[in-house]
Subunit: 357 residues, 2 copies
């Protein structure tokens, strides 16, 4: 039974890390006889350059036809001054929305080999393993009305709409409760229910669902406090569930607690488990094409893809073991390099992985 | 010339830290012959208990009649299940809005004596001195329409409106540019202009104003990246300016970088410099009435009040010097206590300040 994976390299360091991720997947594909076939598509800046739009129809059609998407990163200064409606980011948002990838899983894990990389004290972050579940196709990212209008007095006003309905809240909360059940059994729902009505409903629905998950200990936290607690004592968290905007902010903060954002994968899933997998880091245009990028977040994204969308747990394990091995061997790209370790380029890290497999 | 200060003790630890702040102010008032007269008013939970509403008309009237407000903290579990429209927080939001206190200054300063308290590595935070300028009377906190409505299909939807007009953006950006000019000359404006139109206008206006401040180096950062950079390398920032919601989140994260949120004051100013001064921390109901609260953030808020609203710089300096002195002497409330230091209660910390003055 063949599986179709759509590869979207994207912009900046996207192409170079994609090459390494594909090398790893190719080996795993053979070793585990997975029958993975590839297709490729354009998104973001690369798509704008080639077709004039950030999400070509062909890309969306290919994405709908595949079993899973492995994606690098998009954006860069080249497209910064382009018309707002065709910015690279619109391509990514269009894909998330077009495929209804509402469930975004962002783990923040501290690799023991990289404990030094964190800006936090070792005792605060050692053993850190948080999962942030972010709603990805609703909230203020997609709410209408939105825009910039001219008021009666002649000045302009920018406006957006933050909204969530019960169905949207229930389906993301379900993903989070299920994840908490399989992990440490603790779920913290983050909102701003003391100010925002959109999140008053959020809190009510999440609370209501708790009765179906007696094995999960649910708590609620305001987003300002959550940002604070992530800095103060991040290990108090197991799974965090929150909306699109708060999830964007908190997942980046959480990722940075580990000090090695070049190591963190993410998954964006629809209701059937089909998904898009991508590194937590961005397209890093400043180092693109220089062989400095860390391919491990994308490689680990491929592992997540095998686990969640392609039902290939053993293959996913094999990749994760290989990543642990190259770290144990001391291989480090510049972003995670410390004294005494072996500084390697993007492709040399790929070589090390290939050897480890 | 007499000055009228309105004291609002509030809820939780509010009353006990207010007592100490007033003791300090009383001495300073005499020493510097400031002619400060006091009035008192109810807000939040205390106001709900006494009058049924979180912001009694009398409180708003007194607030409008005074030169400055010194405020403790509000809220607590006692009022958690109260009707949404009369929650304690509504009192605070109503006061901010009623007095047009749009300019919220939240410094995040690491006291060298307390460097150990931070969860971050010493080299990452030593000497930290950031000022977050948060817009406080607009954005999604106050945007209409808002509420919870029933959709055609019978399910409910919670919604809020995020908006900023040019005037609102200009006046807060001006506060931030002026502050940056007097400090390190660097201003970072935080937005989510790659997704939210409300912040596309924000970025445009702030950028436009930069030409009037050639001595200030302006940069722009997306909010997710800002959350990340605060964790990774906070000393890269001097002044940060942002909207109400992002400011809420980032200022709490920044405060927590110091590890001693019990030390941080804040100011909320109107266009004439009249202001409300309050600690960055909350009402901490769990330790209320136990003599464990740290009064220093409120004492330092009183110093900010003297400096910004009462034009009494020398008096403000004297308070800040006294705080430095008690820290040097090793006095510590439980929140900032470390081995070898003198553990003191709220009132003992007050005693130490009085002695230092
Ligand atoms: C590129 C941008 C639109 C995107 C987001 O805000 O969702 C990114 O920050 C992310 O978190 O995946
Ligand atoms: C109490 C709450 C409404 C308030 C806010 O969100 O503004 C608080 O968190 C703050 O930052 O002053």
């Amino acid at each position: 039974m063949s599986k179709k994976v759509l590869l979207i390299a994207g912009d900046g360091i996207g192409p170079e890390i994609s090459v390494e991720a594909k090398r790893v997947l190719d080996i795993i594909n053979q070793q585990f006889d997975l029958g993975i076939e590839y297709d490729e598509a354009l998104l973001g800046g690369a798509a704008i350059d080639a077709t004039g739009v950030p999400l070509p129809d062909e890309t969306l059609a290919k994405a709908k036809a595949c079993d899973a998407i492995l994606f690098g990163a998009i954006g860069g200064p080249k497209w910064d001054n382009i018309d707002r409606d065709i910015r690279p980011e619109k391509g990514l948002l269009g894909l998330r929305s077009g495929l209804e990838l509402f469930g975004n899983l962002r783990p923040a894990i501290l690799y023991p080999q990289l404990a030094d990389a964190s800006s936090l004290k070792p005792e605060v972050v050692s053993g850190l393993d948080i999962l942030i579940v972010r709603e990805l196709t609703g909230g203020i990212y997609f709410g209408e009305p939105r825009g910039i209008r001219t008021l009666e007095n002649g000045e302009r006003e920018g406006y957006n709409t933050y909204k969530y309905n019960e169905t949207e809240i229930r389906r993301i909360a379900k993903v989070a409760f299920e994840a908490a059940k399989k992990r440490g059994g603790k779920l913290c729902s983050v909102d701003k229910a003391n100010v925002l009505e959109a999140t008053v409903l959020w809190r009510e629905i999440v609370q209501d669902m708790a009765k179906d998950y007696p094995e999960v200990e649910l708590s609620h936290m305001y987003v300002d406090n959550a940002a604070m607690q992530l800095v103060r004592a991040p290990k108090q968290f197991d799974v965090i569930v929150t909306g699109n905007l708060f999830g964007d902010i908190l997942s980046d903060a959480a990722a940075m607690l580990t000090g090695s954002i070049g190591m963190l994968p993410s998954a964006s899933l629809d209701k059937n488990g089909r998904g898009m997998y991508e590194p937590c880091h961005g397209s890093a245009p400043d180092i693109a094409g220089q062989g400095k990028a860390n391919p491990l977040a994308m490689v680990l994204s491929a592992a997540m893809m095998l686990r969640y969308s392609l039902n290939a747990t053993a293959a996913a394990d094999a990749i994760e073991v290989a990543v642990g091995k190259v770290l144990d061997q001391g291989y480090r790209t510049p972003d995670i390099h410390t004294e005494g370790m072996k500084l390697v380029s993007t492709s040399e890290m790929g070589d090390a992985l290939v050897a480890a497999l």
